[in-house]
């Protein structure tokens, strides 16, 4: 298959060999599971269980809280110990509503799980989407966008390709690699089911060529299906970015402010495909995920399949704990991952990795003045000029930064990675994007208030006019009455 060049990018030290040969191992049931109501992009889900409730594995514990939201299910059988605030795996370290489940150790599936769909390809695409929604599946590559919403894109767009993202371009992470090697058939089946739900005639699986075994396994699994193509894509960070993978495979560039779906392409992650397979074929909701636990400070790096809600501290302990104090513990890959405020946070649906990195690995240095070396310009995969945007932001010129394209930045971190002056460029851009979004919201809010105020004023005016008219009418009537000759009654009253 012909591939197309993608601009810029970097070639970081991948360090995948630490876990790429460790087969996925299942974590023993922990003592408690913490299910946050917000594990996805969109509205928080709403708890449907109360303290003391007995739950079975796969039973819904929180229902979707809106159009863009996702349900959550009990990862094992047990009892709801609490519905309380608990620290979320987010850099802020703020607590958020969480359902705490105490496993009973029997790990029993609920009896009333929906049945598997025998021939999903004959099923109505809507039935598949409903099943995916009911199973609480979100994008498992890290974005955690509700998958059912994304599977809806076929209803508004004419789709050509479902792109399965097996690039796994972040250093260290190997969970997708292992999934493709060990469960290729499940991934391929899930992908084909999704393509059916989307109405996309073909599936392309893109895998970076540094995972030859995964490519081989997937190619074998896809051999029987002429509509599925597995292709090795260049090892070039951020190949796993939707827009860039789409460009590499279709040669088409997603226009700014549009979706890849506008080009007829929808991208889903390999782990998501496997989750869809389980949901559709067996009626099993998303209750576990594979997490790569790695980094120089982890004693025995591994790929661990853990029930959702497991505390990160248990994952770390399972991997032998820390061999040395880590400088950072990161949720996700080292490029786009988020620092964790504490180990006492739960594993969530979008958590692909837990990395305990040493100072040597993070290579943090105080930033120096920009020497205008231009490296950031050369490598930016979005064609931006990071050095210029950063200068604008430093001078608090957000409009300048916006004009310079900061809203088109995908926060891939390549510029910060390459900068010889160690300037935290993405940090600036994330700040600016947040501030600009807030400003935008504020403006819209103000517009709304203004519109409301105007309509209120209009209403008041109308009312006043109506009153006036009524008053005038009344006055006229009175005048008329006064002018009219007195009737006998009037006389009588007088």
């Amino acid at each position: 298959m012909r591939l197309f060049p993608v601009r810029g990018g970097i070639h970081p030290d991948y360090r995948k060999e630490r876990t790429s040969e460790s087969a996925i191992v299942a974590l023993p049931l922990p003592a408690a599971l913490y299910i946050p109501l917000q594990q996805h992009i969109g509205a928080a889900s709403e708890a449907v269980v109360a303290v003391g409730d007995v739950v079975k594995k796969g039973q819904i514990v929180a229902r979707s809280g809106g159009v863009v939201s996702a349900a959550s299910h009990a990862p094992t059988s047990g009892r709801v110990a609490a519905v309380t605030d608990f620290t979320a795996p987010h850099p802020s370290g703020l607590p958020q509503p969480t359902i705490v489940i105490e496993p009973d150790g029997r790990d029993e599936w609920a009896a009333d799980l929906p049945p598997g769909i025998d021939d999903p390809f004959a099923a109505d695409p809507k039935a598949i989407r409903d099943r995916v929604a009911a199973s609480g599946i979100v994008g498992m590559g890290g974005a955690a966008f509700p998958s059912a919403v994304k599977l809806n894109l076929g209803t508004q767009h004419k789709l050509e390709t479902l792109l399965i993202n097996g690039a796994e371009c972040e250093p260290y992470l190997t969970c997708d690699d292992r999934l493709m090697r060990e469960f290729a058939a499940e991934v391929v089946d899930g992908a084909r089911v999704m393509a059916h739900a989307l109405g996309a005639p073909r599936v392309v699986v893109g895998i970076e060529t540094n995972k030859p075994q995964a490519i081989e396994a997937m190619t074998r699994a896809a051999a029987a299906f002429p509509d599925v193509t597995v292709v090795g894509v260049p090892v070039q960070y951020p190949m796993g970015s939707e827009r860039h993978l789409t460009q590499a495979i279709t040669g088409r560039e997603t226009p700014a402010r549009k979706l890849t779906a506008d080009l007829g392409v929808v991208v889903h992650n390999v782990a998501t495909a496997r989750a869809v397979h389980h949901a559709v074929r067996f009626g099993r909701p998303l209750v576990r995920r594979v997490v790569t636990v790695s980094g120089g400070a982890i004693a025995r790096p591994a790929n661990v399949e853990a029930p959702l809600g497991t505390l990160v501290s248990e994952l770390v302990a399972f991997c032998g704990g820390f061999s040395q104090p880590p400088r950072r513990v990161v949720n996700g890959g080292p490029m786009m991952g988020q620092p964790l405020p504490s180990l006492e946070v739960p594993v969530v649906k979008g958590m692909s990795g837990i990395l305990a990195l040493t100072l040597d690995e993070t290579d943090e240095k105080p930033s120096q003045p920009c020497i205008r070396c231009g490296s950031c310009v050369t490598i930016c995969p979005c064609g931006l000029v990071p050095v210029e945007m950063a200068a604008f932001i430093r001078h608090d010129n957000l409009d300048g930064a916006a004009k310079s394209g900061v809203m088109d930045c995908v926060s891939c971190g390549s510029c910060s990675y390459i900068c010889p002056s160690h300037i935290p460029l993405v940090h600036f851009f994330n700040y600016a994007k947040g501030a600009l979004n807030a400003k935008d919201r504020e403006r819209r809010h103000l517009d709304q208030i203004k519109a409301l105020a105007e309509s209120h004023a209009l209403r008041v005016e109308k009312q006043a006019a109506a009153k006036k008219a009524a008053a005038a009418a009344a006055a006229a009537a009175r005048a008329q009455a006064a002018a009219a000759p007195l009737t006998d009654d009037d006389k009588a009253n007088a």
């Binding site: 601009r7 402010r257 104090p325 880590p326 991952g337 964790l340 070396c373 931006l384 935290p424 994330n430």
Partner: protein
């Protein structure tokens, strides 16, 4: 967990790059050519080199101290060493010590720190230093000597050399000789066509190696080129500026020479005389004062090549590289504005690409 921090966003890994690593790689690339130059021009050149670099470092220390920064850190980044080094090799090797000191003041204190220090300057500090002394002390700055390699017959001894650099009564006439560019230019002014005068300048091999009068940096094209290629290999610089600069210079020389050989020197002559290679690989590629995008760098290189050729050919100075670099430095902010990569998903004008627009 007491050791992990969440005070900082990612990425949590970094390329093995740093400012000092970059700068010291540049210095390493300059070293072979410079050692050769120092050997060729002997003790006076060595003294001048030390005085110039030393003054630059001292001034950096002073300026950063005054500005309240950390002088050790500033010197440690290596940038001032490059400035001093390039400045030293752009001076006539037997110039008196104070030429180096004055040039250093203008380069470091004015061109660099008055603009705000590392990364803030608009003009290449070394070239500012060189141009200021060239304009202020034309006699000293055009007193070239023929190479007298260290320890060779006729080379000045250590003590005698101290006199040359630090003494007061150096007779400039006794040492002065013309550089090839200067020679051709004066001859042309005397009415001697270029194609006749050029046979009297050293042969091609000597020009290449640098066995001709000139500043240190004008010598030894092969070693400068080797240093430049090393920098490209190390990805400190890219081909864009050197190739566009030298290409333009060569093209202009060749074109005009073909039209009127009596008036214009050829392309090859332009390439291997003067500071063409040093300028193309080490001076024009200065990060701070050149455009950040590749597109801008190509235009920048073409501009310097063109201006160098024009100044060499028509203006009063035989060598125009320094002026050309400074002129293009002034344009760098504008080049940065106009020559930028196309943003992903947008047209060159910045509008979102049309949805069904297949390229």
């Amino acid at each position: 967990m007491t050791t992990a921090y969440n005070d900082r966003a990612g990425p949590f890994t970094h390329a093995p790059t740093s400012v000092s690593k970059t700068m010291f790689t540049v210095l390493a690339a300059l070293t072979p050519a410079t050692l050769f130059n120092l050997w060729m021009f002997g003790w006076p050149a060595i003294f001048l080199f030390l005085v110039t670099v030393g003054s630059c470092v001292a001034l950096e220390f002073l300026c950063v101290r005054i500005a309240g920064g950390s002088p050790e850190g500033a010197i440690g980044d290596g940038s001032v060493l490059i400035t001093g080094w390039l400045l030293a090799v752009s001076l006539p090797p037997w110039a008196p010590w104070w030429v180096g000191v004055v040039a250093a003041v203008f380069a470091v204190a004015l061109a660099k720190h008055a603009f705000g220090g590392l990364g803030q300057n608009v003009f290449n500090p070394a070239m500012v230093g060189r141009v200021v002394v060239l304009v202020s002390f034309p006699v000293q700055m055009t007193a070239w000597v023929a190479p007298r390699p260290l320890f060779s017959a006729g080379a000045p001894g250590f003590v005698e050399s101290l006199g040359t650099t630090f003494g007061r009564n150096v007779s400039l006439d006794s040492i002065s000789a013309a550089s090839p560019l200067g020679f051709v230019k004066t001859e042309l002014a005397r009415g001697i066509p270029v194609d006749q005068s050029i046979v009297n300048v050293p042969g091609l091999a000597d020009l290449l190696l640098g066995f001709h009068p000139g500043s240190m940096g004008e010598a030894s094209v092969p070693l400068v080129l080797a240093g430049g290629l090393y920098l490209m290999w190390k990805r400190i610089i890219s081909w864009h500026i050197p190739v566009s600069l030298l290409g333009t210079l060569f093209l202009m020389g060749t074109l005009f020479h073909a039209v009127d050989p009596a008036r214009y020197a050829g392309g090859l002559f332009h390439l291997i005389t003067g500071a063409s290679f040093l300028g193309a690989f080490f001076i024009a590629t200065d990060y701070v004062t050149s455009p950040v995008s590749k597109q801008g760098q190509i235009v920048f290189g073409i501009g310097i090549g063109l201006l160098t050729w024009i100044i060499r050919t028509y203006a009063g100075y035989p060598e125009g590289m320094a002026f050309a670099v400074l002129l293009m430095n002034a344009l760098t902010p504008i080049l940065d504005q106009h020559f930028r990569p196309r943003v992903f998903g947008r047209t060159r004008k910045g509008q979102p690409l049309p949805v069904k627009g297949d390229q």
